[in-house]
């Protein structure tokens, strides 16, 4: 095959150029230390390198997150340990106070110490982390987890959301303990408390009066809203009244109570309160006021139910019923109704809003509607019940401590012994939360190890893709350089050959 001169030259030059490009490429690789000079050299390798870089970046973010979570769990653990220690102390104190050899003074001393511990527990329940977030408040961490009202009762102010944080590609971890579960409630046996003895236990006719535990106050004539002989609730929870121009004068009044057998349910009795009065001019009669004996240890959510009616032989009557907290004097309205004398039973069923000890107050009154100066009020009350919904009664954490304090103050040995079991339950709950937190810390530690390993692995893969192996590259370079040298030398030699040299 013939090769033209021009062809020979152009072929040689092309080959040399190609070889030089290869050498230059290797040189750049050696200089930069990476296999991929331009992404266009190997686009899929470039993509792989990008993926690996992203993964490594992500791992370092996870690592930072794990550090933050670790420090927060540390704070939680410290707080929970302190709580545990304090509750152990409370348990010890309660054991010693349960023994009846202690006097009232001794018990009061114990109560003082427990009160201090209770305040300390409240502070621990509101532990904050470094950024000022309340760690036991669920996701409502900008507000304190537990708050005290003006009567020193503690309620949970946070929410029930669990805070999750991503700790690896596929794993989320819950990092918080919800305050209401750490400082959780105990279950008590449901033994229904009634406000004093029930009506049913009273024999009809045997004792026409209401049970002795019920206190009855006599009829009062009012034109304002105050009832004497009794610490009064606010005026405005009484029904609306239209007043006479002056205080009426009462010429005669009578008041009676009795037990009848036409209660709301079958075989139930009813307590009747009856007031008659003569007034001049017209006005309002309030009375009687019936106060049930104290029912103790009412919990939030307990239901109080009763029924009431105004029989036909009465004027229209106002009926008002409310729960009175014996310690704080707060009242929770139950009934506030004006009934015509239609002899129909009305029922009411409410849920107690705040825990405590309560008395039930029942007031009936009437307005001299026909203006004849005479008032005759008859109000009948059916059975009053306090019920626990569900299987158990719940008593909140701080409620138990408060009740323990009041039992110690009241020198009530039996009650203190009941509290002992409950304190034991509280200690157990704390331990559960503590072990959960410790478990989480352990998980974090192992997760960190896993993360380190995967980071190392990814870095190695990246290096494999990206970095050049110097020994291989240098060998390649010398090989290609050798080839280039050979090309150049042979070109120099062959291009010299020409027939013209030999033609003289």
């Amino acid at each position: 095959m013939k090769i033209s001169t021009a062809q020979f030259f152009s072929n040689s030059i092309t080959q040399m150029q190609r070889q030089q490009t290869k050498v230059a490429q290797l040189q750049t690789q050696l200089g930069t230390g990476s296999q991929l000079v331009n992404p266009s050299d190997d686009a899929s390798k470039a993509s792989t390198i990008n993926r690996l870089n992203s993964a490594i970046e992500r791992q370092s973010v996870f690592s930072a997150s794990l550090d933050a979570v670790e420090s927060r769990l540390g704070i939680e653990e410290v707080a929970l340990r302190s709580v545990n220690d304090l509750m152990q102390r409370v348990s010890q104190l309660t054991i010693s106070a349960a023994s009846d050899t202690l006097t009232a003074i001794d018990r009061k001393i114990v109560a003082a110490e427990i009160e201090g511990i209770r305040d300390e527990l409240f502070n621990l329940a509101n532990t904050q982390d470094f950024s000022g977030h309340y760690i036991f408040a669920g996701s409502k961490s900008t507000e304190p987890a537990f708050i005290k009202d003006e009567y020193n009762r503690v309620t949970y102010n946070g929410d029930y959301a669990s805070m999750k944080v991503g700790v690896s590609e596929n794993r989320d971890m819950t990092i918080n303990n919800i305050g209401a579960r750490v400082f959780s409630y105990v279950n008590r046996d449901p033994s229904s408390a009634t406000f004093g003895a029930s009506f049913t236990s009273n024999e009809i006719g045997g004792s026409p009066s209401p049970p002795a535990e019920w206190v009855v106050s006599s009829a009062q004539h009012v034109s304002g809203g105050v009832i004497a002989g009794f610490s009064s609730p606010e005026d405005d929870i009484y029904p609306e009244e239209s007043l006479g121009t002056d205080d009426p004068t009462v010429s005669s009044s009578n008041f009676a109570t009795s037990i009848t057998n036409n209660g709301y349910g079958t075989d139930e009795h009813a307590l009747t309160m009856n007031t008659t009065a003569t007034l001049d001019p017209y006005g309002i009669v309030r009375g009687p006021v019936l106060v049930a004996a104290e029912a103790k240890n009412i919990s939030v959510g307990d239901r109080v139910s009763l029924s009431y009616k105004v029989p036909t032989n009465s004027d229209s009557a106002d009926v008002m019923v409310y729960l009175l907290n014996t310690k704080t004097g707060e009242s929770q309205p139950v009934v506030n109704n004006t009934l015509t004398a239609d002899d129909t039973w009305h029922e009411i069923d409410i849920s107690v809003e705040v825990y405590g000890d309560y008395k039930l107050v029942i007031v009936g009154g009437a307005y001299d509607a026909d203006g004849n100066g005479e008032v005759n009020v008859n109000v009948q009350i059916g059975e009053v019940r306090v019920e626990r919904p569900g299987e158990y009664q719940r008593a909140d954490y701080f409620q138990v401590l408060d009740e323990l304090l009041s039992d110690l103050g009241a020198n009530d040995g039996d009650a203190i012994r009941k509290r002992l079991d409950e304190v034991g339950d509280l200690v157990d709950n704390n331990s559960i939360a503590l072990s959960e937190t410790a478990g989480r810390s352990a998980t974090i530690a192992s997760q960190k190890m896993v993360l380190e390993e995967s980071q190392l692995r990814l870095r190695m893969m990246l290096s494999g893709e990206k970095d050049i192996d110097y020994s291989i590259a240098v060998t390649e370079l010398s090989k290609e350089a050798l080839a280039l040298e050979a090309l150049q030398a042979s070109f120099a030699k062959i291009s010299q050959l020409s027939l013209f040299d030999y033609i003289r």
């Binding site: 095959m1 013939k2 090769i3 033209s4 001169t5 021009a6 062809q7 072929n11 992404p39 266009s40 190997d42 686009a43 899929s44 470039a46 993509s47 390198i49 990008n50 993926r51 870089n53 992203s54 970046e57 992500r58 973010v61 996870f62 930072a64 997150s65 933050a68 979570v69 950024s131 977030h133 408040a137 669920g138 996701s139 409502k140 961490s141 900008t142 507000e143 949970y156 929410d159 029930y160 959301a161 669990s162 805070m163 999750k164 944080v165 991503g166 989320d172 579960r181 959780s184 939030v300 959510g301 849920s351 919904p389 569900g390 719940r394 909140d396 020409s498 027939l499 013209f500 033609i503």
Partner: protein, 1003 residues
Amino acid sequence: MSDFLSIGASAVNVYRQAIATTSNNIANVNTEGYSKQGVNVGESYPTQIASYFIGTGSTVNSIQRSYDEFVERSLRDSASDLQATTPFIEYTNRIVDIMGSETANLTNAIEAFFNASRSLSVDPGSIPLRNEVVSSGQALASRFNTLSTQIDAVGTESRDRLGAALEEVNNLAGQLLSINKQLGRNSEKSKQPPQLMDQRDLILRKLSGLSTIGVTESSNGQVSVNFGGAGRGFEIVTSSGVREIAMVSDSADPTGDVQLVIDPRGSKQPLPLLSGGEVGGLLTFRNEVAKVARDGLDHIAVQFANKVNEVHRQGFDLNGDFGQDFFRITPSYSINSEAVSGTFSVDVKVVDQTDLPTDPTKMMYRESTQSWLVYTDSQLHPEAELSVANNFSFRGLALSISGTPEDADTIILSPKNRAADTFTMELRDPRRVAASEPMTLMPAPANSSDVSAALSYLLPSERSSGFDSGARFSQLVPNLSSNTNLSLTTSSVRPAIVIDANTSAPTLVFDIGPNSDQQVQVLTAESVHLAGTVITGSEAAQLVASDAGFNAGAAYNSEYLNQTGSNAYLDTAVRLGAIGKTITEVVPEIDSASGDLLSRQIQLPPAISSKVVPSYTNSSGSEVTLIDAGDLTLNGQSLGALTLPSTEALSAAKISAWLKSEISASGQTGLVVNAKTDILVAGIDATQTLEINDVSIDYDVYADMTEMLTAINAVSGQTGVRAEWDSETAFRLTNAAGFEGENIVLGGTDSVTALNLSTGSYSGRLVVTGEVGEEVALTLGAGQPSDLGQIGFYTGVYVDKPLNEELAVFVTGTGSVGSAISGRAANVDQSSVAQLPASPYKLTFTSDDIYTITDTATDTVVSKRLFEFGVPIEYRGTSISFSEKPKKGDEFSVSANASPGGNNKNILALIEWSKRPIISGQTFSEAYLDLVSGVGSRSSMSELQREALQVVYDQAYNTREESSGVNLDDEAANLIRFQQAYQAAAQVIQAAQKSFDTLLQIR
């Protein structure tokens, strides 16, 4: 004469020419495109002497150019193929370098954004971490912009290069034409000067490097060139002329389509795409790489912005407001209106950035249908044609055209700024990063069990779709402000009409007659019965069959049936009946003092009016009760019974009297009832007879309308009927004073009276008017729609306030019913509360398996459902799942999140989307890397192709050089050969000389 002198002379001549040719070859050894020339020596014609021939020497027959047409052609073709790959690889690699750069690629920026979000999720209230998120978002936006600009730069450059290549083609074509013209002087190829032929071939080779060409050689060497390949018919050079090639692009977009046209200043024919040569390589690059990369980047930008915005808008920021848009894309469109003859202006607005056209869109006005036809790539989009002319929407764009377009006016819309160009960060305030969930779930403290419940949210696309049968209100009344009449068939299984959520003052009016059994029932999707008549359990079960869209687990609830005020469902009463409200109108008037034009609000008193009272005569023999007491209620007061004594006919007057007595009995002042009977008489036929209310009317057979009117009025005292002019050509028969509302009975000897109306009883209408500021409500009490029909009123459905849910309106019974509907879409309440996934509610377990959902604001039980443990409870946009089975008495309330500072649910939801496949089954990062790999693999495929094509080209080149190239050694040998021959020939001459001398010396 064959003497050896002349032989020698001819030989010397021949060899001198041979040496000259050889030295010409040597001189042109480095000339580009030179084909080796060879001397073709032939023997001269011999002389004949007696019986033998004696030679006369040699001549040069021709100087031949060594040229192989087929080798040339294969060289040209392989050059086209090879040259196509070079610009393609070069530009594609640039795109890969831009997009795949290790530090400046999109994946880094996307990952940085999600990483900042991950850090924020650990401490969502922290302002510095929020700032991180905002700045990483800004970095991402600028990364999009940068990548987009850089790709555009490559696109622009490739377009410029394409332009230069086409210029070059045109240049070469011009040069070839002049060569053709020179070649035209000779008629045979062999007579053509080789230098000209060499030039011609060189130009053809250069042309083939620029694009694929087909070359046809004629007998004299002239060529005609076909652009695009042999046989494609687009001649750019012929023996006599050239045609230019130019490039046009439809859009201002650097990576947009370009079109090659031939003869741009003349017939302007478009050329199909070609794939060879530099031009072909550039076109392939633009269409298959640049466009793909650009569109891919834009697609990622749009999807990313939309998804992040969607998730972000669902969460709460630190201020307790819903999150705003995080990113914003504002593509703009350029309007090319070259082909218009009318005068108008076009305004383009982006309304839905998820579905924007990326190719140029052509719109042509068609006068015959007064509508615009929309094309993309010559594909017609029929849906745009149906819209209202001059104001329509197409794929996420809202177009409004003002002015007068003419028939066949065409405008071209093309994207000027692409999505990735305009990707910006909308959110700047770190406090407004919506990390928190919008609602919280709190178990009531009194719950007996410690069940933990988890609250999650449903995206709008995941919520239940509502009623799926029944005509939708919003579709029947397209812009929801005008009345629409339609006829509906009754069904006790499918709703007739569905009132969409957030419809303000929807009004449905049904024309139900006095004897119809049709009932109207209105229910919510949770089977709460709002308005209608009391139904039995089995009837209810039929209505709420779940395949009509009712929630399958919800129980029928009639607690709110026909309730009003605070007892009503969500404190919004839904009433059936005829209800008129006070209308406030704005009237312009001139202020008498200042002369200014003022607008005054006047209030028109509420009123309801009936249609013509149904005609009914009591022929039963005893009194008939048409409407029972308590069936109807007027303004809250129950109405007594309407009775009709025997033999009497029902008339508007009787109903009016009944209403009036009921109104006064109930002590309601302010309600006024008017009754009136009206018959329009448009023409008369005085040859017929006429009796009105049994009184015969006297008139002449030639009487005209005026005389008829006078005749009727003459006896109005007896008939109780008056006639009065209504217009120039018609008069009305109406009640005389004192007889308002009484029926008008027309009689005569024939069935058609003189008034061109048939005989019979004509009844009147009622209007009940109320006081300004109040309403008139004639509603169903215990009655049914047919009771309203009995007194001539329609049954309407009236909803007091817009409800945030759909209502199903059933019309049960037999037959079909005519209806009229009107209403308007309520302004969507923008307050946070109204935008919550669900209005705050309480979930109460009334038993272990049944729970109720109560709306907290209005204390309305909106649903009563069966509980299935393991299946999450879904209500509106919320979904609640329980870890254990709750017990009877447990309560959970869902309300707006009042302290969003510590909650990280929404930022976790956002981070989820970094892992979820969203673009064709891939995550955002993966989709981008895929795009880069795709472009890269095109490039490496092209590289492989180039290597193979290089071999082919080298082969062709070598073959050509083999046959036409100059080899110096070869020429050197030839030189020696010819020199020797020359010397020898010179010797012959010398020998001849010597012989002649010898001859001359003979004495």
